[in-house]
């Protein structure tokens, strides 16, 4: 009796624990996770879009600001989602996310203020930028058309031509051209003040005001653009991602722990079940013996039987309860020695999709997937056939063809000789865990992809900056051509033709006596002069257009050539090489506030494959920038130095970033080795190869974690002679 109570108590405890564990194991909610993660990606996406649109607005490629408003609203919605993190997030995680969100909101607020100023400034500047070339041309035309020109006219014409040339050919906003423009502007203004009576003074003064707006406004618009681009929104978003990812990882870990516990509970239950069987058969044996021995003592036997029956009933009850718990918690199957199924519980039927009738007497192989090797199953059979317990994770295929994963423990059921007469398998469903594991891997891949795109955006920024300025000139030329064609007098020709058509019968009379006819030759002469002039203007404009398009092609070609390896050696200055490499990283260096110190003595020129050398240096600088960034310090610094020996020059890129642990120094040039979250482990590997191809070396030094690193590329002054044949 006492023992039965104990048994029941244990079963109740087991059942309660199993319910608790099941609940805990289901804590990770997919829906909540998806909702939250979508919001994070939406924010990231909107953030990148903002920068793209900003550049488009700066270069007059965006013609209204409505989209910014729509996106601001979308951003607010996504940020609202972040205030309700999924239930599996711990309170510490909630704090971390709230903090990262607050930081991002702070940056956004700053961005909003800057952006309002940008819109205001950009509007005024872009109007003048568009109008000024037109106005310059208009003034030139007015002066040109004057029959007699005064010295004042000629002077104004000269100043106007000067400014035109400067403005129209101004392809970049370098300081030198800016200074020159300022000078010409002053001349223009001075002239207007000195000649208030000149018929064009009013027009010229207005023109000067527009030029002034460009000169003062353009700088500010560009400064605002760069300030906006440099705002650490991407970093703040990364913090959000990091905070959340940490929580997801730990929540998945917890879930796995609870699942493992649940599984252990299954095992315990199995043991108890075995014990129950033993107790039952022992009781049976006992009973039979007593029946034989004590048939005489009926009274005693009756009493005894009563006790035994009660015990039996209790044991059976316990067994039923144990079975119940096992049935609910696990997938249970028994097979004979050959693996033919002799028992399947409801869970087994449900997950496999087969009915019990279909499963029974079938070999367990019908569930086998092709994911596991033959050795895998051989190992398993070897283990269980020898009477040992086998444990592992198996992918099975259900009746409808879908796959499911089970955490499986198979133990032998032994006969009297201790040989297996069949096997019992207890399994738990881990399909969801497997799926989430895959998904986490997927998210990591997406992160890598996003980082790569962010890198592309930086390159795009560089191109846009250079191309955008030219594009403005192209826009202006195109507008002028369009306007000119729209206003063309060509359209009056059909009228003349119609007039002639109407008088085909008596053309002679029409030309001599009809007032319309007599005026026609004069009109045609005028029209012809006008059209010739117009053609000339359009041609000039088209030639300027073509020049500008050529320039854009050059910029794009240059950008592409950075990416190519062409294998031709040329003689270049080391300083120039280094400057080029820095320039190509400039935008991102500025954006991440990494200062660059150069320590470059005068060096003899070097004969190398420029593109390969450039590729190595660009990579080293980019890596150094990443290392600085990851360190999180404020005084991020790169030092680029060069020294030469008799035969070679050594260029070093030193950073004060995260440094490299000693054990990684040897592997760092291996293909696929990377410490960057989003790295591919390709840059340094190909860098080292390229250096070797040029007869040089690429080496690394670091005093350890947190102590920065120095990469040194050594290049010979002359490339190695190629061995022919």
């Amino acid at each position: 009796m006492k023992r039965a109570f104990l048994l029941i108590a244990v079963i109740v405890a087991l059942a309660a624990t199993s319910i608790f564990l099941r609940q805990k194991a289901g804590e990770f909610s997919d829906d909540q996770h998806n909702g939250f993660q979508t919001a994070l990606w939406q924010i990231k996406h909107l953030d990148i879009t903002f920068n793209e649109d900003l550049l488009a607005a700066r270069f007059a490629l965006l013609d209204n600001y409505d989209d910014f408003q729509t996106r601001t609203a979308q951003m607010q919605q996504s940020l609202e989602v972040l205030t309700k993190p999924p239930a599996f997030i711990t309170s510490i995680g909630q704090q971390a996310i709230a903090q990262a969100r607050k930081k991002y909101l702070g940056v956004l607020e700053k961005r909003q203020k800057l952006f309002e100023r940008f819109k205001t400034q950009n509007a005024a500047t872009s109007n003048s930028r568009r109008y000024l070339p037109v106005a310059l041309e208009e003034l030139a035309r007015r002066l040109q058309e004057k029959q007699t020109k005064t010295p004042d006219d000629l002077e104004l014409q000269a100043i106007n031509a000067d400014l035109s040339r400067l403005i129209l050919n101004r392809l970049s906003t370098s300081d030198a051209t800016l200074e020159q423009a300022q000078l010409r502007m002053q001349q223009f203004k001075d002239w207007c003040i000195q000649h208030p009576q000149h018929p064009e003074a009013h027009f010229a003064a207005s023109l000067a005001r527009h030029a002034q707006i460009i000169l003062s406004g353009q700088g500010e618009v560009d400064a605002l653009t760069y300030q906006l681009m440099a705002l650490p929104t991407a970093e703040a978003i990364q913090d959000l991602f990091d905070a959340y990812q940490t929580e997801v990882t730990s929540a998945l870990g917890r879930t796995q722990q609870y699942r493992a516990l649940l599984y252990m509970l299954g095992l315990v239950t199995l043991i108890i079940l075995g014990y129950g069987f033993k107790a039952l058969s022992a009781a049976n044996l006992n009973l039979e013996q007593r029946v034989r021995e004590r048939t005489a003592d009926l009274e005693a036997e009756v009493a005894e039987r009563k006790t035994t029956e009660e015990k039996l009933r209790e044991t059976l009850q316990s067994l039923a309860a144990i079975n119940n718990v096992l049935d609910r918690a696990c997938i249970i199957a028994r097979t004979d020695r050959q693996g033919n199924i002799t028992y399947a519980n409801d869970n087994f039927c449900r997950i496999s999709g087969y009915s019990r009738e279909e499963l029974l007497n079938q070999n367990h192989r019908i569930l086998k997937s092709s994911d596991h090797s033959d050795t895998f199953f051989k190992e398993m059979w070897k283990t269980i056939a020898s009477g040992e317990v086998w444990h592992g994770e198996i992918k099975n295929i259900a009746k409808n063809g879908t796959a499911y994963w089970v955490n499986t423990t198979i133990g032998p059921m032994l006969d009297e000789q201790g040989k297996p007469k069949g096997f019992m398998a207890i399994r738990t469903d881990i399909t969801e865990r497997k799926r989430i594991e895959t998904e986490v891997a997927q998210v990591n891949r997406q992160l890598i992809e996003a980082s790569r795109q962010a890198g592309m955006a930086e390159v795009a920024t560089g191109v846009l900056h250079n191309v955008g300025n030219v594009l403005n000139s192209v826009n202006v030329s195109a507008t002028l051509v369009t306007d000119s064609i729209q206003a063309s007098k060509v359209s009056s020709l059909p009228k003349v033709v119609a007039l002639l058509d109407a008088h085909t019968a008596n053309l002679g009379q029409f030309f001599t006596s009809d007032p319309k006819g007599t005026g026609l030759p004069h009109y045609l002469r005028q029209l012809s002069t006008h059209l010739t002039q117009e053609q000339q203007r359009v041609l000039e404009e088209l030639s300027s257009l073509r020049k500008n398009v050529e320039h854009i092609k050059d910029i794009v070609a240059m950008q592409q050539s950075f990416a190519k390896v062409c294998g031709v050696s040329e003689t270049i200055h080391v300083t120039e090489l280094i400057e080029d490499a820095i320039r190509m990283n400039n935008v991102s260096l500025q954006r991440h506030a990494v200062s660059v110190r150069k320590d470059l003595p005068a060096l003899p020129p070097i004969n190398v494959d420029k593109h390969k050398a450039l590729q190595i240096l660009v990579n080293l600088i980019r890596n150094a920038k990443h290392a600085c960034n990851d360190s999180g310090r404020d005084d991020k610094q790169l030092v680029i130095s060069a020294i030469s020996s008799e035969t070679a020059v050594k260029i070093s890129v030193a950073d004060n970033g995260v440094g490299i642990p000693a054990e990684n120094l040897n592997r760092i040039f291996n293909h696929g080795f990377t410490t960057k979250k989003a790295g591919h482990g390709f840059g340094l590997h190909s860098g080292a190869n390229a250096a070797r191809e040029m007869g040089g070396t690429l080496t690394v030094q670091s005093d350890g974690v947190g102590k920065g690193a120095i990469f040194t590329v050594e290049l010979p002054f002359q490339p190695p002679q190629k061995v022919n044949g």
């Binding site: 013609d63 309002e116 205001t120 568009r130 109008y131 207005s206 527009h210 707006i213």
Partner: protein, 308 residues
């Protein structure tokens, strides 16, 4: 539809001005309640002024006065902007001091020269009207509250959109919806650079701009008031002096007089002032006339009826 018409529509979708949406999703119960509140004089100190007093839906959403008149017939400090399409503005008021329509409600209600009331007073007065108590409780669990009054009014104001102007029909592909002169006016509106600020669905209303970029507007006009300082009154930044929200130009033909100071009586005057002080361009009379014709084609429909 033939190919050229399709092409035309595709080309027009790239226009800097976008059509006003035909409808926007809103809570009908809130709109109905907001409409009542919009006409409610109990929102003012002496029960004489309601929102419609200055934003008359039969006068293009304005009062057509230089400056609005509040309680005790006091004249306000600034020209009342139209309430039509105000939900499409990026910020509210000439100086953009409110981010949302709901926050905008606080302004006129508590300004001495406008409605001169206080929220506790308003909530008390509304609670005394049984119809409001029921209506509020049906929508808001906490009944008549400051935030709920603001919310309902804002929802009603969001419903005040004016789609289907002739110009919008043109944008949507009906080439005959506007005349050749109006098309020419639109081309010049873009050509002179008006479009740089007056773009988007609201033809403005999504950025700030100083009045007098190319000339001294306030110097020429004289008599500078606090309201003239514009956005500076909100931020205190020197560079924001004389800066205002660029107003939307939808239904502009119905909302004279123009500008924050109501100084332009006609559209012709307003266009001339803009050309002079914002663009520094001389407009030939013909161009001005065509631009005005284009602006008049921006008048839309409210509740399916052309505004007038």
């Amino acid at each position: 539809m033939n190919d050229s018409a399709t092409l035309l529509i595709r080309a027009r979708t790239r226009e800097p001005i976008r059509p006003v949406p035909q409808s926007i999703p809103l809570d009908g119960r809130k709109v109905a309640l907001g409409k009542k509140l919009f006409h409610e004089t109990a929102l003012s100190k002496d029960n004489t002024v309601s929102c419609v007093s200055c934003h008359d839906l039969h006068k293009g959403g304005t009062d057509r006065r230089v400056r609005s008149v509040g309680i005790h017939q006091t004249e306000g400090e600034i020209n009342a902007p139209t309430v039509f399409n105000s939900g499409m503005h990026f910020k509210q008021f000439w100086d953009g001091r409110a981010d949302t329509l709901a926050d905008q409600v606080d302004g006129p209600i508590q300004t001495d020269k406008e409605m001169g009331s206080t929220w506790p007073e308003i909530v008390n007065k509304l609670q005394a009207i049984p119809a409001y108590a029921t209506a509020f409780h049906e929508i808001y669990p906490d009944g008549i509250q400051r935030a709920n009054v603001k919310d309902a009014i804002a929802e009603f104001e969001k419903s005040l959109i004016t789609p289907n102007s002739r110009f919008d029909k043109y944008l949507r592909g009906d080439n005959a919806a506007i005349t050749d002169d109006e098309k020419e006016g639109y081309r010049k509106f873009k050509g002179y650079g008006c479009i740089t600020c007056h773009q988007g669905a609201n033809v403005g209303g999504n950025l700030f701009q100083p009045l007098g970029v190319m000339g001294d507007y306030f110097g020429d006009r004289g008599n500078i008031t606090k309201a003239d300082l514009g956005r500076y009154n909100v931020t205190g930044n020197e560079e924001d002096k004389f800066t205002f929200k660029v107003p939307g130009l939808r239904n502009i033909a119905l909302t004279a007089p123009y500008f924050h100071d109501g100084s332009a009586q006609t559209l012709e005057d307003a266009v001339a002032v803009m050309a002079k002080y914002q663009l520094d361009r001389e407009l030939p009379p013909k161009d001005k006339e065509q631009i005005v014709l284009f602006l008049k084609s921006l008048t839309g429909e409210y509740n399916g009826k052309l505004l007038e």
